[in-house]
Amino acid sequence: MKVKDYAADHIFSFLCLSVSGLLVFALLWLIETPMVFILFVESILFTAFVCAFLYDYWRRKKYYNQLWEILDRLEEKTLIGEILARPDFLDGQILDEILRRCNKYQNDRLADAEQNRQEYREYLDSWVHEIKTPIAAARLIIENHKNPTTLRIDDELRRIDGFVEQVLYYARSAAVEKDFRVEKTTLQALVNSALKTYSKPLIQAGGRPVFSGLDIPVCADMKSCSFIIGQIISNSIKYRTEGLQVSFSADVEQNAVRLLISDNGIGISPADLSRVFDKGFTGDNGRRYSKSTGIGLYLCKKLCGKMNIGITIQSELGQGTAVTLSFPRESYLQEAGL
């Protein structure tokens, strides 16, 4: 708060002072008071006003500067009403009271929303686990009664299970807590687990996995990683051309182990490529094939981010798409003390 601004804000008071000063001057002059005396009275008037003005200015400046400083330093801005000292001037006290009430309202709403979100996530979690029981029962029934019809139902059950998994990982990706369990595994094990999940659509599309040099140890959360690889494989199946081939190869660098998943599919146009990880983005391919939800790669990116795995995508229209996952290397993690 600057004196100039404060004075400009009190222009009316100055106007009143000037008018009253002039009136006093005129009055005293009319009753023929000596000039020295008039000036003395005027100076008393003026000093009194300036003192009052400066005192008020000082009190406000002290309070508002403190307010700004706290606001800047505070992480949860809505808590400012709680930690502020009460000002010793009336308008400040009113403002303080309003701020407190507003903040309390905001904080209550925030807490409510957070609790709702938490409860919703818990419900979703329990729902996912509930729905798995009938899916498991139905798949067991088919396991015991395999024929062309039931096996087609099994394909649909696997799709349902895939969507249910997606819900689970969506909830997980939005959670603040990181519930991942990192264990020692190999790239081959991660890829195999994803291939088993997406075996049926891949086989039906005439697809063939090709591996090269995947016996490389990595530390990763098995389930989440195989979910991510599964999403990438499912994209390769969706956007395929004749003679689908999905290749998995590995590449060891100083600090990272890279898993390259490439297909010979329709590819992604350069205009769309930078946005494929955006939530809800479907692009040209998504519109043409109308099966895209724009969730798969978004989830991959988010989960990778949480697990410190790098994910990048390259593609050439008509040639195919390659997704690279870079896992931090074990030795690198050890050096970092993790």
């Binding site: 029981t133 498991a136 029934i141 096996l151 291939l195 088993k196």
Partner: protein, 220 residues
């Protein structure tokens, strides 16, 4: 070999029983969950399959109770596939953890592994259909006293067809079954395997054992 299935979902219990009986296991289960641990122990089972979500008490409690008096192998089957449950199960003495929806073949493989480690492996798992006997542990087929060894993939194909005897199994389902045991074969390899399997069957006197249903799949 006897399995005791502790699972409150009747359809799952029924289908698991049905599935394991095909592979020569005896299965027992109960609807009385008050004292299920004692029932399981009293049954003299060689292995216990245990669900976590149970009435009256949870599976962890049951597992603890079993462990107090027995070292019988326990596999936890659950839909709660959180890491916490997995760690908890293993910490209180379960031998393995499988989350739903599990692949029945994978479950079977794990059971057989645990049983063989416990020293009580099945001496023979045998499927028999139309005069042909398939020994799953020896990978051997026999008919009229003639024996032949099978390669891994050929046995996988024959096992799938014999377990589902009388039903047509589509080609993609056969390939899928092999993929589930991490044999990522393609259509051509399947053709080769089928031809070889037919040849082996013909050698022991069953030339037309494996029928082809054009456009649908195979059948024994």
């Amino acid at each position: 070999m006897k399995l005791f299935i502790i699972e409150d979902e009747v359809p799952i219990r029924k289908e698991l029983t049905h599935f394991f009986e095909k592979y020569g296991f005896q299965c027992e289960s109960s609807d009385d969950f008050h004292d299920i641990a004692q029932l399981a122990l009293a049954s003299g089972a060689d292995l216990i399959l245990l669900d976590i979500n149970l009435p009256y008490q949870d599976g962890f409690q049951v597992c603890r109770e079993i462990r107090q008096s027995s070292h019988v192998p326990v596999i936890v089957l659950t839909s709660r596939n959180t890491d916490f449950d997995e760690l908890m199960s293993l910490n209180i003495g379960a031998d393995d953890f499988v989350s739903k929806p599990y692949n029945a073949q994978v479950l079977l493989a794990r059971i057989q592994k645990l049983l063989s480690r416990a020293g009580g492996a099945q001496d023979s798992v045998v499927l028999t259909h139309k005069g042909l006997t398939l020994n799953l542990l020896k990978a051997e087929i026999s008919h009229n006293g003639q024996n032949k060894k099978l390669k891994k993939n050929e046995m996988g194909i024959l096992r799938l067809l014999m377990v589902n005897k009388g039903n047509i199994i589509p080609r993609d389902a056969i390939i899928d079954d092999l993929w589930q045991s991490e044999e990522f074969i393609d259509e051509n390899t399947l053709n080769v395997n089928i031809v070889r399997l037919r040849k082996t069957l013909a050698e022991i006197g069953l030339p037309d054992y494996l029928e082809t249903k054009r456009g649908l799949g195979y059948l024994v």
